[in-house]
Symmetry: C2
Subunit: 438 residues, 2 copies
């Protein structure tokens, strides 16, 4: 039965309505911060869950199950008054009439907050967009997990050397945290997990290539961290290619800008992100796919629309190009905006957003991580790895997720194994583009 | 890239080759039992994991994640010598040439063991096959989980009473353990979980119907167990309809044999199973979709082919219609056949299969289960529920699965919640038949 009578019905309220588009880090913190404010809150998201993106790579590499790194949004807002979640895609906004448009109807707002996050940036390379594996959503991680495991199941079936090479080679594009962490996790699969599973394959034939356009890894972190990450990855025999861009990919050959090619069935695209821009935002308020905002995260030129998180660019003296597109900025902008909206409605004045850098970190396999502290101090190794684990463990939503993740990590640490190796989304890239599969 | 050079290459061995089709309970125990036998073992399965089917209903109802109730098959056989797993579908067998045929080529065998299990039996009702949700595979469980959660996300969006009814009603067909356990788990979602998630819905409107063709529930268990299960389900306000058959379903209306109809978007089909018969088995050796075997699980009329588990029917004085299609029979037949094959190759004689009934049990929500012991004793309630939990927990594959399942159960028990509520396989039944989705 086709449902013909769906509509975005939200009960009328005496309170002003804040519509939040997106339940990522920014939207989640904003909505939580508005719990006791005199507003009606409507949150819209295409998924019914919040994704803890920093651990997606562990889902993709069989370390964690998707349910441990995501939290059902309705559960988070259990008990909130005058709060409404709707699982729906937003088509466009009409700022002149203060309305958002969705496939099942329109909804008016008093305040609109765009917290739609970011998506993979393929820089207009359409072949790469259709054939490569991005890592921005839970389903992307499951698609990649299935692809990796299927590759080896097929590799034991082929008699052709070039087919086997294509199946056992992995190319990761982008030397930021995601690229480095995926490459490290693939190295662990190669060293500790897959050789037991596939005794008939020679894992010296498994190549992991990490391609980065600039001259170093982890460009947003200290040069110490970049050098350390490179050293760690080289211990896994990762082939690190710097100062090179990927120009094309036909599903079999990766073409670099110097004419080199690499054979692989699996190109993992972590080369960049772009804002998940919604139609209808005035062009004068955007830069690329992101939205220009002031110190209160107000969209330039529109009174009652805000943008927070990866989608927003706020430039100031300290950050002339805007803040980094990371979880901490999103979380802090969400919290600041919640306080500002509540203050505003209570007749008080706004406070500008000030980013408190809590440092950054990345992990590259067991016992190996790098940490940059905001004090300028940086270190690597076992202590960095322990810190990485505890910070991520405590940032997960809910006690169950923390416990299940902890059990998985402890078990993996003791056994050198990764437990989540089911192929549950049989993946045929010739039929479905990995970025579009839902 | 299309892979053109795939083939079922298995190294030649001096030892006789045993090909096992299926890594369910029967095939798994057989292969484990052959670890030290003088044979080469080749296991084929369409999935890379073993499914613990008795807990599929918990995946479907958000209680457990799929990775905790399934085990990667390669992991199970880690360290086995002359053992080969291949993820491939078997098209047919040719018993005259002792060959199996697959989409990527043929494979000869000395001994063939068919352990393909069972699938849902729709009794030729094609509309029901296309529109209803069976519960025999991990992907079925995830499809049903997505359907259940999507239903409620849509129910808050509809203004139409009949659409809302169809979304909030669930019809379970079949009063065996699967039907009873699904109905019980839906009752728990209704009582403890969903009302917190959807405060805008009235859960008095959520109807759970359980339809059974005979005059009682749990027909293979004691009448005590059947009556107790009925009482437990009625506490959840489950509408139990006995002595009725479902004749048709159009995706919206369920048609019963007395002309009654029930409106629902979700028909869960647990009304019966049939053998997963492979093409090429001589017709004279089959009965319905199952294979007739003797006391050694040899296929009638063929020397070197065996069938074990749900696919096999072995009739004797104690079981004139064959043994029940349950895990224990499959496990015991797999173990017996392993010992017989090993003995046979060592020049010793065969021992006939004798089923040791270990009793049966079913659970209906927290603190509620029924247990029939082989002594003829039966009981229900909290103790039965504790026994049910520990038996299932210890039967799961691997320490990680046991721990993660235990954490989930403990957490659910303490919080009255179910943690795994992600919609990760957005399900559109109008496009895909739930039984065919992979």
């Amino acid at each position: 039965m086709e449902l013909k009578n769906l509509s975005l019905q939200i009960p009328e309220s005496n309170l002003p309505r804040v519509v939040i588009v997106g339940g990522g880090f920014a939207g989640l913190e904003l909505a939580k911060g508005l719990k006791h404010a005199s507003v009606q809150v409507v949150m819209l998201d295409r998924n019914n869950y919040h994704t803890f993106q920093p651990l997606l790579y562990q889902v993709a590499t069989s370390g964690l199950e998707p349910d441990s790194i995501a939290g059902p949004l309705r559960k988070v807002f259990d008990g909130f008054k005058d709060f409404y979640f709707r699982m729906v895609k937003v088509d466009r906004i009409d700022h002149l009439s203060s309305t958002i448009e969705t496939p099942i109807g329109n909804l008016s707002y008093d305040y609109l907050v765009l917290a739609c996050g970011s998506k993979a940036n393929f820089f207009g390379l359409e072949h790469i967009r259709r054939k490569s594996f991005p890592l921005k959503q839970v389903v992307h991680a499951l698609n990649l997990r299935s692809q990796i495991l299927q590759n080896f199941e097929k590799a034991v079936l082929t008699r052709d050397k070039s087919e086997k090479d294509a199946l056992m080679n992995f190319v990761v594009v982008g030397g930021g945290p995601t690229g480095v962490e995926v490459a490290g996790a693939l190295g662990e699969l190669k060293n500790h997990v897959l050789p037991n599973d596939f005794p008939d394959l020679d894992f010296n034939d498994m190549e992991i290539h990490l391609i980065e356009g600039t001259s170093r890894l982890l460009g947003d972190m200290s040069s110490f961290a970049g050098a350390k990450a490179k050293k760690y990855l080289q211990k896994f025999n990762t082939n690190i290619i710097l100062n090179r861009l990927v120009k094309n990919y036909d599903g079999q050959l990766v073409y670099l800008d110097n004419g080199d090619t690499i054979t692989t069935q699996t190109l993992i695209w972590a080369a960049g992100v772009q804002g998940n821009l919604v139609d209808g935002v005035p062009e004068t308020s955007t830069e690329g796919n992101r939205i220009l905002v002031d110190q209160y995260n107000r969209v330039a030129g529109v009174d009652n629309i805000f943008a927070i998180g990866d989608l927003a660019v706020y430039k100031n003296q300290d950050y002339p190009k805007g803040h980094p597109m990371v979880a901490q900025v999103a979380i802090q902008q969400g919290r600041r905006l919640a306080r500002n909206l509540a203050a505003h409605l209570a007749g008080k004045s706004w406070k500008p957003f000030e980013y408190k850098d809590k440092g950054s970190m990345a992990t590259i396999g067991r016992n190996k991580a790098v940490v940059d502290l905001p004090t300028g101090m940086h270190f690597g190794g076992f202590v960095a790895w322990l810190i990485w684990m505890f910070v991520h463990l405590f940032a997960l939503i809910g006690f169950r997720n923390k416990m299940v993740t902890f059990i998985n990590w402890l078990w993996s640490y003791l056994t050198f194994d990764k437990g989540n190796r089911l192929i549950i989304r049989k993946f045929d890239r010739d039929k479905t583009s990995p970025v579009e599969a839902v």
